[in-house]
Symmetry: C2
Subunit: 144 residues, 2 copies
DNA sequence: ACAAGTTACATCAAAAATTGATACAGTCGG
DNA sequence: CCGACTGTATCAATTTTTGATGTAACTTGT
């Protein structure tokens, strides 16, 4: 058992965390697309529709419709892009942020309960790895 | 900067990996629900519809319909549950497994490219953490 | 400074996916 | 073996997504 990085297993673990997170009940019944859009907007500040599009698994008309619904529901704001008359800047309202935050909080809660059952040594190993994992996601953000 | 585990950041990192994975193009255009069902069946062997249901974000009629489509497409198999005349056991066909495998392979490839850009020290830290992360998902499986 | 081409988003009808209500056959406890 | 319950299917109605297309705003080359 060499101490070499098992990327296959790393991918599997991430997949499993995904499903653990997905199974967490959401406050209201927004579908996957909706929650993803809220998450992305919460994470990546104001975005134009076109810039939001590639991160979501939707075609443009579906995203337009989804965004319209979310504006109706008071979860996102649309304002003209000062640099481009055709574009609209999308961002979360306070209510939208609240939803993203509360979902994140539930995931933290879930993770905390799991982490509590680790030994102190295991927790220490995990603690050291968090910044490396973060680095990985940063590399991904740059590379893309 | 204490070496204490930052669960909040851990949750964020997992969320970010989720979106990195989600953005990977899928071979054919199956929607989220479909891919999730395939993944779950691939991971958790034959399952009855009722046992599959709680892990998916769908109501029962939608899952029934989805499963019917997947059977049509030759991605899953349905056979009677020998222990319960009402139930059906669902499992992946060879073609279904192939899809799950190839999606996993793409994620491994993506992760590999990211990992390549880490320093050896960072990779070592990550390598040590993988078994702890795996433990976490096992705890989650048990707890649920 | 303007025509031609491109980009950002909207609109619309059609297709696909999801839901709630309900039906029905199989199972279980007394 | 009866009444209650469970597992899945079916159906009509609703919601979501798509492909095609339109329109206004930007850009480029001249």
């Amino acid at each position: 058992m060499p101490d070499e990085l098992d990327v296959d297993r790393l991918a599997m673990v991430v997949e499993d965390f995904n499903t653990i997170f997905i199974r967490l009940p959401s406050v209201r019944r927004y579908n996957f697309s909706t929650l993803s859009v809220l998450h992305t907007l919460g994470r990546n500040g104001p975005l134009r529709l076109t810039d939001l599009l590639p991160t979501e698994q939707l075609k443009q008309p579906a995203l337009t419709a989804l965004v319209a619904r979310l504006e109706e529901d008071g979860l996102i704001q649309r304002r003209p892009d000062p640099n481009d008359g055709r574009a609209t800047l999308l961002s979360l309202t306070r209510a939208g942020k609240q939803i993203v935050r509360s979902r994140h909080a539930e995931r933290v809660k879930k993770l905390s309960r799991l982490v509590d059952q680790l030994t102190p040594e295991e927790r220490a190993v995990l603690a050291d790895s968090v910044h490396v994992l973060t680095r990985l996601t940063e590399i991904a953000a740059d590379t893309t």
